[in-house]
């Protein structure tokens, strides 16, 4: 029995029809084998467009459907559902990608129309061989893994935990809070960062549904959506998390007291080898830095910390620990790294004393920072003139092309704080002011009125002229070159991907974008999803974001995990390989080639057998099979051969 195929060609407004003669494509399609009906329509994905397809299915009793429109990555699921709503299996539909892969990449004319016709013909030939497929469902483990405990990870974890489900929150540092814990104030409201964040950090620690792993990293991921198995490695803290009271006696007793540059204070303050980075740290427990601890690094120390500890919480014998976790979803909230401005000598960072980064300014301004919140120069005096330079490392083809998004606003915030604390002259060197968020433009206007001088032009150089720190820049509004003597320079450096983001991406099976941040499944339609079902993104690991956007995205990621938990089951991709036993010669080529160990061998029957639960549907075994005994569903040999015939036919 031959199929009855309906072909529906979309104009996509004028997106496709301005380049491709869609009416001609539909007209040609009407003449092809097994095509019962072929038509074009302005917007196939719209309600009337989908209703048109449904009415034609009913009217002509169609058994197969081809939609020539956008990429199947865009509306494949939409049209699959269109069929399902009128009782036709969604896999009996094929899309021809004539927008992203034809209209948008071609000049208008005959060649574009020919290409669209070829792609549509290929889809028609292919769909003849489609089979109805029932998607299998698997149950979802109710626990979620959240990787990274900055504001993004914290928000996601709290959101999921508040719904009553378990969360494993894994943080590589000894404390949670991420960059936000270091900030002084947050724009545009000038809320104190700690006042917003620390209550959430405490909640994380107290929530019975959240299991916090500090000093820990994910080292192994197996399984699939709903049923991941994760291995976590925890580095020794050398301090018992249960018994340590966070009193700080060990910190003051340490022989290295005030001798190690504090990472939390960005090198502006000093700490001990055993330390608690800031008073509100969560967990409020000491940690030993094994690099700077004399006993751990060199084996000789009086161990004054052990003497000082009244609860015997310090244990230098502690070893690394591995934990296996089972979770249904994974949310990555691994954050960002800051661009190192010492890479570019033109900015003078590391060369001149009073050239600092934005995050160093945060620590200077912070009341619990190294200067107790006093804005001072290295010599302790107050600055009279301060330069703030935007886009250090970002929007710069020599370093990173992307915009870091938050620096314009944090620069405006710095200017406001400097005015407030010192009354100094402030010069901001910017390329463009990007004050896009809610109340941002208003905040910018307010700071302009405070007398801050905004100079449109990227500061090109920081130099010392006769011992005077000086910023050189082109003022592109006045069209003049300017040299402005200052006491302090704040380099607002770019947010860039974490150092190990490539390894993290490959560990979880993700892709990275051109900018190095993790790639979302679809920038608009699935911004927190990834190419791996059940793995979601939150915060700056996807791209630079301010705190409001990060919190919103973190909640979105939590909602994704929760919807799978609420449903209790997820559908698996039905693309799976299977062996036709009668054609299998038992050569075992497929057994070794499978990256998942999904192909086994039945020694009695002497044929290969594929474990459907382990198979991911890559089809590599099928390509290796010399007898054609292996078929990958929805990507069968017949389907692909027909598609090849379709694109090649003239």
């Amino acid at each position: 029995m031959s199929e009855r195929i309906g072909v529906f060609v979309c104009h996509c407004g004028t997106n496709i029809s301005s380049v491709v003669d869609v009416e001609q494509v539909a007209k040609d399609a009407g003449g092809w084998d097994n095509v019962t009906v072929a038509m074009d329509y302005k917007y196939m994905c719209s309600d009337p467009g989908q209703e048109l397809i449904q009415s034609k299915i009913k009217e002509h009793n169609l058994t197969r459907v081809v939609v020539a429109a956008c990429s199947p990555r865009m509306h494949g699921p939409t049209f699959k559902k269109t069929l399902e709503r009128v009782g036709v299996n969604g896999y009996l539909m094929e899309m021809a990608n004539i927008r992203e892969q034809c209209a948008w990449t071609s000049d208008p004319g005959e060649l574009a129309t020919e290409k669209a016709t070829a792609l549509t013909r290929a889809a028609v030939k292919r769909v003849n061989f489609h089979q109805p497929i029932k998607e299998s469902e698997v149950s979802v483990n109710k626990a979620t893994l959240v990787v990274g405990a900055g504001i993004a990870g914290i928000q996601t974890a709290l959101q999921i935990a508040s719904a009553g489900y378990p969360v494993y929150l894994v943080e590589k540092e000894a404390y949670i809070g991420g960059h936000m814990a270091q900030f002084d104030k947050t724009f545009p409201t000038m809320d104190c960062s700690a006042c917003v964040l620390t209550p959430k950090m405490v909640d994380v620690n107290q929530d019975p549904n959240i299991d916090l792993f500090t000093n820990s990293q994910v080292v192994g991921v197996e399984g699939y959506v709903g049923n991941f198995k994760v291995k976590v490695r925890t580095e020794p803290r050398y301090v018992n998390l249960k018994t340590c009271t966070g009193c700080g006696d060990c910190v003051s007793a340490c022989v290295m007291k005030d001798r190690i540059p504090s990472e939390f204070d960005e090198g502006l303050g000093k700490r001990s080898a055993i330390y608690i980075p800031f008073p509100q740290a969560v967990p409020l427990k000491a940690v030993v830095d094994k690099e700077s601890c004399l006993f751990l690094a060199k084996g000789k120390c009086k161990q004054t910390c052990i003497e000082a500890c009244q609860v015997n919480a310090i244990n230098f014998q502690e070893e690394e620990k591995f934990t296996e976790l089972e979770v249904g979803s994974i949310v990555l909230a691994t954050g960002y790294k800051l661009f190192d401005p010492s890479i570019g000598p033109q900015w003078g960072y590391g060369l001149y004393d009073n050239v600092i980064t934005g995050i160093q300014f945060e620590r200077l301004a912070n009341a619990s920072g190294p200067t107790g919140g006093k804005l001072v120069l290295k010599d302790g005096s107050q600055p009279q003139r301060v330069a703030i330079m935007h886009c250090i490392g970002s929007r710069d083809e020599n370093y990173y092309a992307h915009c870091s998004r938050v620096c314009c606003m944090s620069s405006v915030k710095f200017a406001h704080q400097i005015k407030e604390k010192t009354g100094a002259e402030v010069y901001e060197f910017y390329i463009d002011m990007r004050c896009f968020g809610k109340q941002y433009e208003e905040f910018y206007n307010r700071v302009q009125e405070e007398g801050v001088q905004f100079i449109r032009g990227k500061g090109s150089e920081v130099v010392e002229v006769d011992g005077q720190l000086t910023v050189r820049a082109e003022d592109t509004l006045l069209g003049v070159f300017r040299e402005i003597p200052v006491d302090m320079v704040i380099l607002n450096n770019a947010l860039i991907p974490q150092e190990d983001s490539d390894q993290v991406a490959s560990l979880f099976g993700l892709c990275s974008g051109e900018d190095g941040f993790f790639l979302e499944a679809h920038i608009k339609l699935a911004p927190v999803n990834t190419a791996v079902d059940g793995v979601f993104l939150a915060g700056c690991c996807q791209s630079p974001k301010d705190i409001p956007d990060t919190v919103a995205q973190a909640s979105a990621a939590a909602a994704q995990a929760l919807s799978a938990i609420a449903l209790g089951k997820v559908k698996l991709s039905p693309v799976r390989a299977a062996v036709e036993a009668s054609r299998c010669s038992g050569c075992m080529s497929c057994v070794n080639i499978c990256p998942y160990g999904a192909v086994g061998f039945d020694k009695e029957q002497k044929v290969s057998v594929i474990n459907q639960a382990l198979c991911k549907g890559c089809g590599t075994c099928g390509a290796a099979c010399p007898t054609g005994a292996i078929t990958t569903s929805h990507f069968t040999r017949e389907q692909i051969m027909a598609q090849i015939e379709g694109v090649c036919a003239q």
Binding site: S71, R73, Q101, L111, A112, K115, P595, G619, I640, I644
Partner: protein
């Protein structure tokens, strides 16, 4: 002469769903123009491209075949692309024995963010194939 000038090669592209097909979509979203010569067949992984698919494309009249997948180490299926990488020299050899020039068959890697790289590769391959003219096997008759 004029006929040869008008010759538009036909390239069949086998692109993996996760990297290169997504990258080709990105080329579209970014409105990067490239020749219409390429007609893309989506596969889940380049590892699923049976060598016979490539032979079939040439048999059906393709002037070139391009396989594009994730970069080695970035395969959605761990290492399907590595399997393809190993098959490629063998297949290229076989094709040459059939009289199909080496330039007509290409394997490349393009990630989901490399739309421009993909578009450039199509342009380059088209530029190479154009002066070569149509694939001519067995005195103009189709093989197989």
């Amino acid at each position: 002469m004029s006929k040869k000038k008008d010759f538009e090669p036909l390239i069949v592209g086998f692109l993996c769903n996760w990297c290169s097909y997504t990258g080709a979509d990105l080329a579209g979203t970014a409105r990067i123009k490239y020749p219409t010569s390429i007609k893309i067949v989506r596969v889940m992984c380049t590892g699923m491209v049976d060598p016979s698919y490539v032979v079939k494309a040439f048999k059906e009249g393709a002037d070139g075949v391009l396989i594009s997948g994730c970069h080695p180490g970035e395969c959605h299926y761990v290492e399907g692309n590595v399997k393809t990488m190993r098959r490629e020299p063998l297949l290229a050899n076989l094709l040459e024995q059939l009289g199909i020039e080496r330039e007509r068959f290409k394997l490349m890697w393009a990630s989901a963010s490399e739309g421009e790289k993909f578009a450039k590769a199509v342009q380059e391959m088209t530029d190479i194939l154009k002066p070569m003219g149509p694939l001519n096997l067995g005195g103009g008759k189709k093989i197989g």
